[in-house]
Symmetry: C2
Subunit: 456 residues, 2 copies
Amino acid sequence: MRQERHEPQAGRINFFFEPKSVALIGVPRRTGRASFNILETLVNCGYPGELYPVNPNADSILGLKAYPKIESLPHGIELALIMVPRDMVLNAIDSCAKMGIKAATIVSDGFAEAGSEGRALQEQVVNRARAGGIRLVGPNSLGSINNFQPFSSSFLPPSPIKAPIAMVSQSGGFFEGFFDFVASKGIDLGNMCDVDFADILEYLEVDPDTRLIFLHIEGLNQGRRFLKVAKRVSQKKPILVLKTGRTAPAARAIASHSGSLAGQDKLYDVAFQYAGIIRVENSDELGDVAKALLYLPPLKGNRVGIITPTGGCAIMAVDALDKEGLEPAQLSPKTIDALKNYFPIWAPPRNPVDMLAAGMSHGYKNIYKACLEALLDDPQMDAIICIAGWPTIKTIQDISAGKSKPVVVWMQGRWTGESLSWIEKLDYKTAYPTPERAARALSVLRRYGNRKDKYE
Amino acid sequence: MRQERHEPQAGRINFFFEPKSVALIGVPRRTGRASFNILETLVNCGYPGELYPVNPNADSILGLKAYPKIESLPHGIELALIMVPRDMVLNAIDSCAKMGIKAATIVSDGFAEAGSEGRALQEQVVNRARAGGIRLVGPNSLGSINNFQPFSSSFLPPSPIKAPIAMVSQSGGFFEGFFDFVASKGIDLGNMCDVDFADILEYLEVDPDTRLIFLHIEGLNQGRRFLKVAKRVSQKKPILVLKTGRTAPAARAIASHSGSLAGQDKLYDVAFQYAGIIRVENSDELGDVAKALLYLPPLKGNRVGIITPTGGCAIMAVDALDKEGLEPAQLSPKTIDALKNYFPIWAPPRNPVDMLAAGMSHGYKNIYKACLEALLDDPQMDAIICIAGWPTIKTIQDISAGKSKPVVVWMQGRWTGESLSWIEKLDYKTAYPTPERAARALSVLRRYGNRKDKYE
């Protein structure tokens, strides 16, 4: 769509994530509940930098001095958030350039996503920003969020969660996260008229807060540069991608969302594979795989042990392993020796290890502990799936912490507010709601296990 | 494996779910935390019938008179729970017969699941029970649970949840449920030496507490009778099945769990289809589909409206619909008229309805409400997917209650203890964690929609 730029631009991308000073151009006076006031979010979250609201109709907003126009601002503010109606954006860019602002997020919409008139306007904005030496995120973007600073130009406050996960998206909606996956640093590229995936990847490549990168892609424009950068970065940090707009009706919807061309889905498969990017099929898998890659040690083989209080669930786990190319391990003689005294003579320990009867006689937690310790020590075992209700997770967490084999939990039963709060309090990361998803996570860990050694 | 029985036996199956009197044969004296004492569960849960503990070494347990042997019990107790070691089971059955007990659950294990010796013992037990006129559940069974009475012979207390869902399982592990699916009436058939799926289906067919039946099947023995009964019952109440042991290693594991033969997976597909049973692929889908069938009106067409605060998420929903054979609807002129004044001129309302900008100007909840009401009234719309954070669910619940079109929510963002507790308090049933799962639920509702008219 436009010419490839070759100069490395990572330098100024940090202004979008950790600006020392921010001008809020066109910030509304209205504050309080449901006002979606970015200034209020920044004030309330404890953003440590300087804030410069610009609004011609106010002397102060939220106790901060308000500036009547961009030209009244001090020189050299790092980031401008532009929220004025689309017809005023062009002038705002010119004024920013004049005042030495080098990075701007255009929150305003009505550009390439809104038909030919908006598209023409967007092109003018880009040209003017380039002439003025300004890097642009957006338009039609909620900008960025950074729980580490903290900073947020979205309507969401930064969360106290500090996970080493960064998100690069074409939608602000994903700042909310998925099921049990939330990025702690993220950017919404919106219509992506200037700053794009490759620029952000170059920043994240050396960002000490980031160990895993999630991309939400609707469409790419600078394909060649993206693949080159992604291939390099994926050697250092795992990159997961959720490519949306895979079907024809969704591709049409994208045209009026970010204005991107969705492209051919099969081509993306090939490109992602070339670049070493891990493609996830859906939003459940995204969180499942991210947790495994971040919080589990490498998986060095296919042999999996299963500990269970119920034979029926163990069979589901065996089905799930088989579908993912993993297999139930055989217990070594040493493990059988360690456990056999707890088990009835007619049902000696075997894998899956059904510990219920032994647990009823010898204490549930004692036996769960004995089984997990024995399996962690067993050289015929590469990973372990623990089937457990939520009260057992603390035991599993204590025993598996720091061990060199991946342990995942199928947290069996209904997931309630109570059980989820328990996991949150424990900060236990690798519980899965079904055996299929636990097995899938192990399988991705197996495929990318060797690379993980390199990552660390 | 054994001969088909032809006499209808539904009469006595009610003893397993709602017994008026229960003998606990071999109940331990040990009570309190982690003692897994069934008597204690029954006393604590408020079971309203009579309890008769049998233990030769105690005069009383938990304040209840204990009987030294079965022969000391009053005549005609409805249900015996047999927990003695396997070698004592045969004598216990004889004694039960003598005392006029007509139904027994054998909790003890070490039978067909434990090799040839156990299998031979199990055959003797069955023969002796038949001779004595006793219907048997098990062996190797946790028996049943019934939140409506309440009653439980499993180690789990009955829950206060009274959902019209019954479960027939070959494992006690499933009493804990899956993710957000828990049956309020359930039975673990264990080794299924006598009472089997068909018997329970005949009981549930006329059970007023049950509107949907979930089967967990490892293997069937009386195949023909099962199919005949299931075909009849599925006309009245939806039957969902999770067939486990689909893969070779899992089929081997089943032999040492319930002692069943897992059979050929493809044959089960054909059989389930013949009997009108809905096969679910995994445990996520089980809950997703059950909720849709129970709590949503029929889906009369393929056209789906989407309401969203984020374009990016809407595109994921469109992808998901397309994969399930559903399609984004076109808004009718009436709907566009009703909404257009809220929307910018360059982005008139269309489906997916991206309500964020309008919501920011006119009040988030107001606009969400206006959009949902317009789509519910729109004749070009058969169902609606609402993409929403958890605070919006109350609004959606209020507007969609009692309407004739299915409304499902993709509850976007991280599912936390706080958000789950909120849904539990609202008792909102049809929230899904991903667009794929919301679309899948609608798709099953579409396929079985006509039948649902019949169910009600």
